[in-house]
């Protein structure tokens, strides 16, 4: 198992010089080591998965490679030549391009303008619009994409936006492409399209460093895996030598907890009193009217493809969007949920899917982010004292194991999983009767994943009602008491108790009778 020795220097024994050679990278933030002597070799035409839990150092490694963050120690070689980019721009000039999860392009400009931004073909100083479009068309055609390049980028799906970002990067003579969780917001078909592009780039000899949380994708497309843990190299091996269970062990440094074990079956009818009941609730052009009962101590899961109306449903439930028909009853009485504030008055809490844009306030501290909803509920005139804030923050940092355990750190500096935990803490601090979680485990690592699923069960056992949106069907079946399947912005099926299993949910999503699912 030589390949798994973290401190083994990259050996030149492979015969040729690797495309990108990272040696002994170290970086500490305020004395807290984020990277510790990390090595990584990326070969020509290699798709190399970079894996690790949140806070393992993946982002820091990428940022130090591209020079966005200065490294404390280490050597970076591209084709055997030492390079030291000091910014993403310099890295790009050297031949290292990065495409982030959130596409860093101008959504209001056309696809062609985005592709050639800052390097438009010109004549006498004027942009040659037609030439630019022609080139854009040709460039995208290489990736099997034939779209109207004159349309604004935002009019296309996230997958196409990603391919445009990749095409732009590759066209700027990139030899190394770093993809930072490009698939986090793509559905299965879109992922396939992206993989096709990646394989094509691989054939051209471009080295791809691929950061993802989806293990299936790693095995579908990658040649080699490097795993980081706590800022150190946990191991690196060709895909064939690293079976899935070994990989998970490397990532976690421990066995998976009981998170994936089956949930003890509940006695039917054991549900508590309804926390809220929605009848004929809906909004024209947003989501078709639906009925939804949310009993205490129950997990209701919403399943469906992206855009099927899952997020839309929970936004209506929380009052983030106003319904135009239907009624809500809480504890038997008719209630109104016209705004998040009204929903909170009824004891609802909501962790949105878009953590960065709708969840965290990046500049504020972890403490301030945690107390925000509770403070909003109390109103501005009953401020929580600093001591109360400190107590609440300390309690939830301990309870949810938020790392680093520093309540004064700006939350924007935390990893995705820890941000998600802080957002959960924000709502748990309000002691909600109904907690709505939209993709609570998206974009976070395996460890935090398991902890959040465990938490969902615990909260449910304590009598809280939960409404969970998730794309992870394997997860849903472990905790849901009821699964509602959505398709085309309508609730199309409802599964309870023993009906809940992955094939049944898939069949409902795909609109095939259960019997046909096996043969389809």
């Amino acid at each position: 198992m030589q390949t798994l020795d973290p401190l083994l220097p990259p050996s030149p024994a492979t015969g040729h010089v690797p495309l990108l050679q990272v040696t002994g990278f170290s970086k500490a933030f305020a004395g807290f080591p984020a990277l510790d002597r990390v090595n990584l070799n990326l070969g020509h035409g290699e798709i190399h998965a970079l894996l690790g839990e949140n806070g393992a150092g993946k982002s820091t490694l990428i940022k130090t490679i591209t020079g966005v963050v200065a490294r404390d120690a280490g050597q970076l070689r591209l084709d055997g030549v030492d390079i030291a980019p000091r910014s993403a721009g310099e890295a790009l000039t050297a031949g290292i391009a990065t495409v982030y999860q959130e596409v860093n392009l101008a959504p209001n400009l056309s696809v062609a303008q985005n592709l050639f931004l800052g390097r438009q073909p010109t004549r006498f100083g004027l942009v040659r619009e037609r030439e630019m479009r022609r080139r854009a068309q040709a460039l995208l055609a290489e990736f099997g994409l034939s779209i109207d390049v004159g349309a604004p980028l935002e009019s296309y799906s996230v997958a196409i936006q990603h391919i445009v970002a990749i095409a732009r990067a590759v066209d700027q003579s990139a030899r190394v492409l770093i993809l930072d969780e490009p698939t986090a917001s793509l559905d299965a078909q879109e992922v396939e399209v992206l993989f096709a592009v990646m394989r094509q780039l691989k054939a051209r000899g471009i080295g791809i460093l691929f950061v993802t949380h989806f293990l299936d994708q790693v095995y579908a497309v990658c040649d080699r895996i490097t795993v980081l843990r706590n800022g150190r190299l946990a191991g690196s091996a060709p895909i064939a030598e690293l079976p899935r269970i070994e990989l998970v062990k490397l990532m976690l440094g421990r066995e998976l907890s009981e998170a994936t074990a089956a949930r003890p079956a509940r006695a039917p009818g054991a549900s508590g009193a309804p926390v809220a009941a929605f009848t004929g609730y809906g909004k024209t052009g947003y989501v078709a009217p639906f009925d939804l009962d949310l009993p205490a101590g129950h997990v209701v899961a919403l399943a469906g493809l992206l855009g099927s109306g899952r997020t839309e449903t929970v936004r209506l439930v929380f009052g983030a969007e106003k319904a135009d028909c239907g009624t809500v009853r809480t504890a038997g009485a008719v209630a109104a949920v016209g705004s998040p504030r009204e929903a909170m008055r009824l004891g609802f809490g909501y962790c949105p899917e878009e953590r960065k844009t709708e969840g965290i306030v990046a500049d504020l501290s972890v403490r301030e982010n945690i107390v925000l909803a509770l403070q909003a509920q109390r109103g501005p005139l009953r401020p929580l004292s600093r001591r109360e804030q400190d107590e609440i923050a300390a309690r939830f940092i301990r309870l949810l194991d938020i790392r680093p355990p520093d309540p004064s750190r700006p939350i924007g500096l935390l990893s995705g999983g820890n941000q998600q935990k802080a957002l959960l803490a924000r709502w748990l601090a309000t002691k909600p009767r109904l907690l709505i979680l939209d993709e609570p485990t998206r974009g976070i690592d395996v460890g935090a994943h398991a902890e959040i699923i465990k938490l969902i069960r615990e909260l449910c056992d304590e009598g809280m009602a939960l409404l969970v949106v998730s794309s992870e069907l394997d997860e849903i079946v472990t905790y849901a008491d009821e699964v509602i399947v959505l398709r085309d912005r309508a609730h199309v099926a409802r599964l309870t108790g023993s009906q809940i299993d992955v094939p049944a949910i898939l069949a409902a999503i795909a609109d095939t009778p259960p019997g046909a699912a096996a043969t389809a």
């Binding site: 998040p340 969840g359 500049d363 501005p380 005139l381």
Partner: protein, 331 residues
């Protein structure tokens, strides 16, 4: 924590000290303060006194900017409220005069807040409307003349003194204390910082962002009204054309010098006032130095640039991006 706090605002305090020291060099009697008829006199007192209107404006402006907004109309609101106060001064009692002028300021703020929070107009455009129209309204109130008055009660607010300090200074200090109590004594400060930092997330966390937006513009209007009353009381009259002219820019500058980002979020009320004092100390220093007053604007620009550069995290040796955030942490 003990190490972090003094660091915040270091560049502003240093700048103020440097400018005061420079004033002392060009005018050795700069720090001389004498007591005469129960009132303190001296250049330093003059800086405080002359700086009071902009300091008042910056108290409202800092909150507006922290909410990702901007209020261009405060100069015009000064003119409106000054005109109202001057027109009523000789015919009505002081409480009525002040009540009317302050109510007008609140109404102006309500209008701005309505445009921004309810109609969703961009703050710079929304407040530009009143910036232009407000001066016209003030001219209508004064009927195009410079309205003068004799009311000693109102004049006291501009030229009088309380416990030896000029009344405008006392008013500004009182408003500073009041603003601090209202904003930092309650949870409003946290809510403003959260809303400015991420409006969508704050609304989803149950913060009444719309109401707070309106309230913040109203506070800005109220502060501007008070500044307008002080300005009118100071010259015993209301000049609709010139009262508060361009002072909105000084107020914005004071807030920015005070370290509050135009992108909203974190803010410091005290440092905004320090920013206002920096601006006034420069104005006074240039007058004292005997330099032609025309150089004022250029010198001001250079000093402002210096203060902003000193605050820049990049100058502290940090790279772009995350370095900006870490610099705060390391401090």
């Amino acid at each position: 924590m003990a190490l972090r706090l003094p660091r915040i605002g270091t560049s502003q305090i240093v700048a103020l000290v440097l400018i005061l020291a420079a004033n002392w060099l060009v005018s050795p009697q700069f720090f001389d303060i004498r007591l005469q008829d129960g009132r303190l006199f001296g250049s330093l007192i003059d800086v405080l006194n002359r700086g009071a209107p902009v300091a008042l404006l910056s108290l409202g402006m800092v909150l507006v900017i922290a909410m990702r907004g901007i209020d261009l109309s405060v100069g015009a609101i000064m003119a409106i409220c000054g005109a109202i106060a001057a027109s009523l001064a000789d015919s009505h009692s002081l409480p009525v005069v002040l009540g009317a002028a302050l109510a007008a300021g609140l109404a102006c703020g309500l209008w701005n807040g309505f445009l921004v929070a309810v109609l969703g107009i961009q703050p710079i455009v929304a407040t530009l409307i009143l910036m232009v129209a407000g001066r016209g309204i003030a001219q209508l109130i004064t009927e195009g003349r410079i309205v003068t008055f004799n009311s000693p009660e109102l004049a006291f607010l501009g030229g009088g003194s309380v416990l030896g300090l000029p009344t405008p200074v006392v008013l500004a200090l009182s408003m500073l204390a009041l603003t601090l109590i209202i904003v930092r004594g309650t949870a409003l400060g946290l809510m403003i910082e959260a809303t400015g930092g991420n409006p969508r997330a704050s609304a989803l966390a149950g913060i009444g962002t719309r109401l707070i937006t309106v309230a913040v513009y109203m506070w800005s209007g109220l502060c501007a009204a008070l500044a307008g009353i002080v300005a009118a009381a100071d010259i015993l009259g209301a000049d609709a054309n010139n009262a508060g002219l361009w002072l909105e820019l000084d107020a914005i500058l004071a807030v920015v010098i005070g370290g509050t980002s135009l992108f909203g979020g974190r803010f410091s009320i005290i440092l905004a006032v320090v920013g206002a004092l920096i601006i006034q100390a420069m104005n006074t220093g240039i007058l004292l130095s005997g330099l032609p007053p025309e150089t004022n604007l250029v010198v001001k620009a250079v000093v402002v640039l210096a203060v902003l550069l000193a605050q820049s995290p990049k100058l502290g040796g940090h790279a772009a991006g995350l370095g900006v955030l870490f610099s705060r942490k390391k401090a």
